[in-house]
Symmetry: C5
Subunit: 362 residues, 5 copies
């Protein structure tokens, strides 16, 4: 429900104005309520143990935090401000950080708060029915032995990671919280490619429409696509800096062994950005094609029609001459006059057609 | 009264010429007189005490400056040059700094004068009646125990901060002058989002007009919007550097505990700038839609009208032929000639319509 | 006489070719002779003394150079190569520096020659009669106790500075040669604002013309303005670097107390550049308005005229039918036939008008 | 089969989605199967010895790896995942590196894995039949005594290098593995020039078509070319950074004597990039020519045709007047009336022609 | 013979493909043979001695190389590969450097080979007959006591430098090889201004044509100019970096006293680049003027012609009505009917003219 054409952008910003004039650090949820109910799931694991449970209250997951075991708290639905508040108090999160979680209008960023890293990302979904991209904010808090992930909606694409941990697929069980945080980011970035594919298909369809029969709807489709690409770019572009910061500045919470994985995510991010830029180049080229195609079709129509009119107008003049009622018009008396005039008409018409043909106007 | 269309920009600059040729540091007010009377309000507070009063003369607030208490001097209306002068003498402000306060054509900037920081910002208002953005300059001087804020007009959006200090909401009472200066900046930047919302609504309206019935007025609206965005960008862009300087260079007057708050303002500034850029991208796309929409509508008209004309011109020729007055025209004598000619007319007309239909010209 | 439309630019460059093939450091005046006669004025002053005189020969001002007093040599008209040569020999100026003074096609720049700084600036004038901007080169040589300023034409805007020194207005008498050089630069940059104002007024006039009655002349005006802005930008843009270098690199000839003044000039330069950029954005938007305005007006004309033609062409066909001379045409015999045909004509005409009206083609 | 017009880009990305949701480091071939069968060729050589053989199983080439002799393993066709896996185990390649080899959608890059360098490049081919550029990924692994090169398709352009090594042409026999890796890169970059030539020829053809007879196909050709240049640029641009990194960072695996050769490759890469940019500039200029050419031709047609119509319409009116059947029309009775009317017709026609000629409308 | 319109660019690149697949360092001449015969001239000089001679074989100039005297070897025509090879062997030039001399498609660059500097520049000529710019490559090798300059064609502009050395004009006799190399570069850059002048004149002519009578040829002229500017820019832009490197990195072969001269060349290079950019801005503005001028002229024609047609079409309808042959048409019987109809015609015509005049359609 994000890119709903004309309505999209003002709504995005309107929410923001709820905050203006409030004390900094005041917690207010900015954004649509995407999930019906907040859902909290906790996964605890190390090389041997794997526990998974769903809790009703956020407090239930706290006793476990100091255990040597790795804890992943996954929260779907962030509209319940008090949950974030309780979480913030327990883990010692800065008030502004809590504010950032709730403000879904956030730019992707990474912040190093010494004992935890705070990462904001944008998740992209493609709504096949509405043919639009929806953007959702995901916040990840990485501590020494825990990872907290918070979504606006529900976190389908993280289920696969849960499965992998459970079934001991991949390196999860042997690696720390930093690796888990990396796989979450990787899953999000990998999902971008699916969205890009869908957009690629739409570009393909538009191009076909352009060649076959360009209409005013095509232009609107192009415009919509252009706009979605503007927003996509805005969501993905800062990610580059985020991943680069994580890789280069080597915060103490991220171990050296995870660095090559981050470099991989960085490469993918660059690829996503380049594909978006390529799409933009393509879409902007389409408008030119459209305009030249429309004007060509128009020109063709105009030309043929004008040629027809031009041939008959002089002929109509000729027959008009002999429709005059002058008393004395010698041609009218000639018995072969009528046929002669048909001859003149044919000669004039053929002459003009030849001339137009020579000039390649037909 | 700022973006009054055509009149806007020259007026802005004209004022400047009053200064050319004067000695540097000469104090002259450049800008419109926005407030009727200069209004000076002083607020003094620490964790326990809170005093608020309005003074007639700027000198009244000076004795308090050396007290250990925190003083906030808020001045609305800067057109009275002598007030700035007295203030400058008392607080030891550089003549060029005083000049900058009075010159409302200033670029946002920050200057570190060792014992005080000088910050220039732009406040944006949206005038709902005129449907325009107005820009107002706000200067903030931050000393160890005092903050001076100077506005061109009146400072509505600072009232909320006064209320919060009075009612002990937020962290004001526990923090220093640097935090107060931060909240002033934060209030201004937060207000930008309201202005952006209004512009977003206008963009929405224009887009609807483009789809429904584009007129020459729509183009003018787009042009006006484009222009306002140019000026908005000019006002907000340098702010990025200002906040970044404050955060990175860590001037001694700003304590470490305020740094995360400044980073938050920085994030918001980036967001404002990105939204302006997005708006610009959108508005520039609109012109293309408009032009293609207008030319499409025109083409449609021309095509149908031309088709009608083209069908009837040959037919007129045919009937013209039998309007000729030749003595010997065999067809005229035939009793079924008239009906035959109607047949020819119908056949020619249908033939042309079929041809045009096949070519998809209708 | 600079921006004389089409003739402007080639003339600028043609002069340059006089130099090609000559030994580097050969002194040749490149540029128009702007002043009739070279005029040399010397001002000597310290806190107490003030002497002003005009000399016929450049040698007359040399004995004074080593005195502890501050000397300002102001030269209007640089076409007399021998004066520059004598000056160069006396003050030990590098041959290439002398060449740069004479070559009025120079880019604004600053060069640190240890015992003197060499600054090249562009002075802008607005010729109200020709409605054009003229560009003039000003060279400033700053030594420990002297300032030499060289103009192509005459230096009106420096007269005010002379007056101020004479009448002890401002800080001149207490400050050194660096402050004097600063005020010269400040006067030039302040003068830019006057030129920008004039251009702003012209933009305003063009915009009004665009709204009222756009003609081919408007386009030419826009083109001329665009071109002037290109040249303005070329003249002012490098200034930014010049002033920044002076402020940041802190050459020994410039004292710390002058730095804030240079920062002020820097701010003004940025403002001038930003205003030029804003003007460029505005002017480029104008072309779009013009084109859409012209095509709109044209479309309106074409539409109404075509509608008229389209209504009458079928009607002409109808009356043509009954102008045929067939022997047997039953309608012609009917006594009410003529009136019936008028009925048909009115019905067809009204039908077409209704259709066009419904389609909003009228 | 790469640039197949509309189908190109989505297919490129679709493959990628196979990976989303999989554990990082899972090996899956992304891309088309270009070679029928994987073909493994091993060349071992030092100053004296030269052995060349083709093996069926990748394991056959391993015993040789520790010998002091230099080994070049060249693999055509990478779709057999197990080969890469075996290779990776034997040479200790990072799982992500193996993934990168298989993912043919990779960006050109270089990675330093201490005991080996991993280089990804794009090979360009020009398909003369389809008139399209195809892009193929080449991975090069450079170890202390071995080079492994992996292609999607077959590696024709490396045959020349094999010949040169065999026949002792050039410096190969005296230099190390780093020189071999350099020559592979050099061969790829040199091949770019051939592709650019072909594109240059197509640009030439399009320009000729533009001058001779621009059609809608020309526009489509331009669009296709534009698109290919977008993809070419995307493939070549990151190479600049790759070669620069190799030259500047001086990884231990690359000896000082090879540095000037890398600088040479760097120069060529810059040249390729600049040529692509030049092509883009040219192609974007073409669209303007096309549009102005089409509209000029159209204008010419319209003008002549309209002139003809305009001359005859008033004449038709005149003869219409004397076709009226009023009882009393004095002119009709005059015996020279008919000839007089011809005179009027000729005068009007000549008058209009003269007027149009004067206005230069013909 | 360089910018021969359409044929220009492919030819440039085609030559390159001769190299693909060859061993790096293989010497092949890439480019046209510009000089009939290679011509080798040697000048030896110090403060007292001056010797000049032309040799047939390159070996003749070698014995002199170790003498304390300064040697300048000037070679016109580089197509004889063996000369470059002999030269390379004698002076110890790297094979890749020799390759670069022969490859006339080189980018301007500077390379520091410890005992000699290698500089590649582009010489521009303006062919007055063909009205095109030709680009020629000049390589300069600067050693401690020698300078070797190599041209594709003949080196007219260096004759002046030879004359100056001979006649002891300028500083040559007192300075070293670095100063000689500088003067060669200076001569080339100074020559750029002459080419720019010629282009400036052509821009002037095109602008006049645009105002007077824009034709399709004008567009082609603009396109050609645009293209030449693209190539000019490509040739001159890297020069900036070259001269900057020489000035900043202070290679040991260049003495401190030459640095200010290099800064001067740098300034000129910047000026050339800026002029090219200004030309580009101007030329791109021209296209807009052209299009608006053409469409304005067209509109004017169409409008007047359409007005004429529109007035006469309704009139023709009116006279058509009274050409009908109905038995009973009362108006026809009236004796003043004919004159009345003339009255109606005049009224209708004047009415329409008035209406069009009011709407400003005429």
């Amino acid at each position: 429900m994000f890119f709903c054409g004309v309505l999209l952008m003002p709504r995005l910003i309107k929410k923001r104005s709820k905050k203006a004039g409030l004390s900094p650090g005041t917690l207010i949820h900015i954004g649509e309520k995407r999930a019906e109910k907040t859902r909290i799931r906790i996964i605890e694991y190390d090389e041997k143990i794997f526990q998974e449970r769903e809790v009703a209250k956020i407090e239930e997951c706290f006793p476990l935090q100091d255990a040597p075991i790795l804890t992943w708290i996954n929260i779907d639905g962030i509209h319940q401000v008090e949950i974030i508040e309780t979480l913030g108090k327990h883990f010692g999160l800065h008030p502004l950080l809590q504010e950032d979680i709730l403000n879904t209008d956030q730019r992707p960023k990474v912040e190093d708060h010494d004992d935890h890293l705070f990462i904001v990302l944008k998740m992209l979904h493609y709504d096949d029915k509405e043919k639009e991209v929806t953007i959702e904010q995901v916040s990840i808090i990485l501590g020494p032995q825990f990872v907290i992930s918070l979504h606006e909606g529900d976190s389908d694409i993280f289920n696969l990671i849960r499965e992998r941990i459970k079934n001991k697929i991949g390196r999860h069980r042997k690696m720390g919280a930093d690796y888990l945080a990396y796989t979450l980011m990787d899953a999000i970035v990998d999902h971008y490619f699916i969205v890009l594919e869908k957009l690629g298909e739409r570009i393909e369809l538009i191009e076909e429409a352009l060649v076959a029969k360009p209409t005013q709807d095509t232009i609107r489709e192009i415009h919509k696509l252009k706009r979605e690409l503007i927003f996509l770019r805005k969501s993905v572009w800062p990610l580059r800096e985020v991943v680069n910061t994580l890789e280069r500045e080597e915060p103490p919470l991220i171990q050296v062994s995870v660095a090559p994985y981050l470099r991989d995510v960085y490469d993918h991010t660059i690829q996503v950005i380049e594909t978006i830029e390529t799409f933009r180049d393509m879409v902007s080229g389409m408008l030119d094609i459209y305009l030249s195609s429309v004007s060509n079709k128009m020109n063709e129509v105009m030309k043929v029609l004008t040629v027809i009119a031009t041939i008959f107008i002089p002929l109509t003049f000729i027959v008009g001459v002999y429709g005059m009622n002058f008393k004395y018009m010698p041609e009218l008396e000639w018995s072969w006059g009528y046929f002669a005039i048909w001859g003149v008409i044919v000669v004039v018409a053929l002459g003009m057609l030849t001339y137009f043909g020579k000039k390649k106007w037909l």
